[in-house]
Symmetry: D2
Subunit: 254 residues, 4 copies
């Protein structure tokens, strides 16, 4: 039995979703996509240059699917509108829904996000929302019909890893749709940890595209996602203060 | 160019060293050794049953080298004596040197360890000492001629991961011999982190042998060590409070 | 110049707000209130026993103000209604606004919270909302006119401390109203850290009322809030890998 | 009953020991000593200027005891010699024993430290060794007759807090002499945490002397040490994933 990521009834050949922003060149991006083993890459409609559509050529050549995103939107109205444009432009009903609430941190605006998600689900989209690590908001997004929820580990581009693993674990307990860790990943161990917390996949961009050696980091991420998934299903040993301690380490006072 | 672990002038085909303690059966151990891709496994002379030497048969069948250890020794004198016995029994001058200072935590005794290491180096051994995460002790062990240093991440069997990554990073800066993270690894992300801190390899046992599915966890560790090594050499992005922050996250007050 | 907490133009004689839930007896609560030095205690209208109003007697005897809360509400409508009842019952327009989104974790529901906050501000209340640690939601609550924002450190009653100090620091940077750390405090160092992150006050209940010795823990919290506030304004030394390191510790790879 | 720190049969009126290095002026130091409430300050014999003994005047004026240290020594021999000089110069048999193993990090050399401690105990000193956070070394130092052990939280002057609280808690479990957290404290919450881990006292210098407002930080530390001690004895609530979770938070997989 193959252990594959399933979203909206479709199997994806990889649990790693790659963002395309930040790459130094199309050649570098192509090498990274191939090394990552991804089956799905995000593209910002806003950043596409109509006169030079070679980004889409790269993606097509790599044989991976496109997941349009609504990067740059600050209200539900904007995001819904852009999602419709993206559906026409890319011929796909899948959308990574971003509604940003703060231009410094690029953190999502949960209120607008929930509004936009509800409308897009009604309009027949397969909605994958980029959200905070709030379990209640994640539950609300799942309840309105999102096909997955994509909580952040830390702000976009921060490379800070998963600041609050407890919330990610709580989200995994609460919702039944796939959970994709989105944003914050800085290095391979962050991606492995996301999977060990029970995430079904990881979405990352700048950790690969802005690394000194993007293709090498992409391969590292491919291995790390595989390692984390295997470890999650392998049943790890408990954490104890030491091997002969009679109780788990959580009994300590901090 | 192949990126291999080199100890005492010899190349090892894997950066993962596997301990053999804790396995439920020889069959389970064999599956784990194969899945881990390791080239070197540790064996406790004390735990070998002379009447049933099948552990060594397993190891031979897997085609991996043996690294005898001095588990169970509490003084330099005991450890040196056991190392000599092991050299005769296994026909190898390599030894994982353990001198335990506390029977609850199985933490090493640095003073006795330094004494034993010096004597064994003088006696022609290739000494790989299991040590604390103290950079000064690691430097002393390297200075007396140890072929590598093997600091702990956390107590043996605790599964607590790397409690003090700063010390591991300091050790990596101080010594020129290989640094092998030994003890404390609980899951794949711990192993990846060890490599990202600059360790040259990882030694683990119970994280694999006592996992619910040892062979699966062994494969997870194989991938994680590879992921961490690639990430270390790929040049990760810096950690920042958010993408547009002008300074690294270390400027925060905690 | 006295360094006092100011909310809605009023000075409070303490930066510690105490919840009254969980106390073993009114005598224990009274001792804790006195030892804490608090000037403001929260009371759940829902939990008041009309036949035994002695909780209010205790509070009056201690000479502290009452802050009614809307604990137990799951929708904006419920919370608004309860706030109005509380205003009549307690003769105060101040309200700690709680709108819960999940009965296991008692985490707030950001969408309903924002709705309720807006209505209560319109109705002339001084609104102090219990919120997630999401900086964007905190900004929204401040924008609609809340007199302070009260982000959680961790779930109510968890004693887990501040799971994501980065978010608390971001909230402090974003909003101009007072920030009160509410929920998650388990021990004195948690309260000190909250203040060092720039919080203007701390709200806690079970850390005191359910401690083995509530009055002693209340005194610990009083000292800790004072310590953290002083430390915040004293200009701490930077964090460095070691004293002679040329750059702050944030440069490390994890 | 007064809860006082007892070392070598003597009661000290404060659990905070203050180092005198790093102060901008004697006036600043005097203000800090007074604000800290300390009863014992360390002085480096090496740094005393025989022509300007005003540091000792400051200390005398403040009515606190002197604890000479052996800062700057790199071998047991040096440290023992300096301790004898200090005993004559200051008329006290108490000594803070430092034997440094690395000039960048100023980390202690455990092997030399143990040697020096044994000799000084034999020579009738009350020995308070600055040591690593290694529980086995701490046990050894207590076994040879040290009056207390003083493990580091992080390197001297780093302000990194307590990098490995597990080790400090293990030391507290192992030894029966007082445990004083020495080095690494950066801010008030670090000092409170040290006490909550069961330390009997805290020694700090640059966190106060190099803060922007030393006297204010000294007062913060005084309150924090008191807060942490009270919290330690007050019986804190357990840490749980959330209030209704049936098991402590240590059950989580990281």
């Amino acid at each position: 039995m193959v252990d594959q990521l399933q979203i909206a009834g479709e199997s994806l050949g990889s649990r790693l979703i790659l963002g395309t922003g930040g790459a130094a060149s199309h050649a570098a991006l192509e090498a990274a996509i191939r090394a990552s083993g991804t089956a799905l890459v995000t593209v910002a409609l806003r950043r596409l240059d109509p006169a030079a559509p070679s980004l889409l050529d790269v993606i097509e050549r790599c044989g991976v699917r496109v997941l349009p995103n609504t990067a740059g939107c600050y209200t539900a109205t904007e995001a819904v509108k852009l999602a419709h444009l993206a559906r026409e432009a890319f011929g796909t009903a899948w959308v990574k829904l971003e509604v940003i609430g703060d231009e410094d941190t690029l953190l999502p605006d949960g209120v607008e996000l929930a509004l936009a998600a509800e409308r897009l689900v009604d309009d027949g989209f397969v909605v994958l929302p980029y959200t905070t690590d709030d379990p209640v908001l994640a539950q609300r997004l799942a309840d309105v019909g999102c096909a997955a929820v994509m909580p952040l580990g830390a702000p976009i581009g921060s490379g800070m890893g998963i600041r609050n693993p407890y919330n990610i674990a709580l989200i995994r307990q609460k919702v039944t749709v796939p959970v994709i860790l989105d944003a914050g990943i800085g290095t391979a161990s962050d991606a492995a940890l996301a999977m060990e917390l029970g995430c079904d996949g990881v979405l990352l961009a700048s950790a690969v595209t802005r690394a000194e050696h993007p293709a090498r980091m992409a391969e590292a991420m491919r291995l790390a996602v595989g390692a984390g998934r295997l470890a999650y299903t392998a049943g790890r040993i408990p954490r104890r203060l030491h091997a002969t301690a009679s109780s788990p380490a959580g009994g300590m006072p901090w």
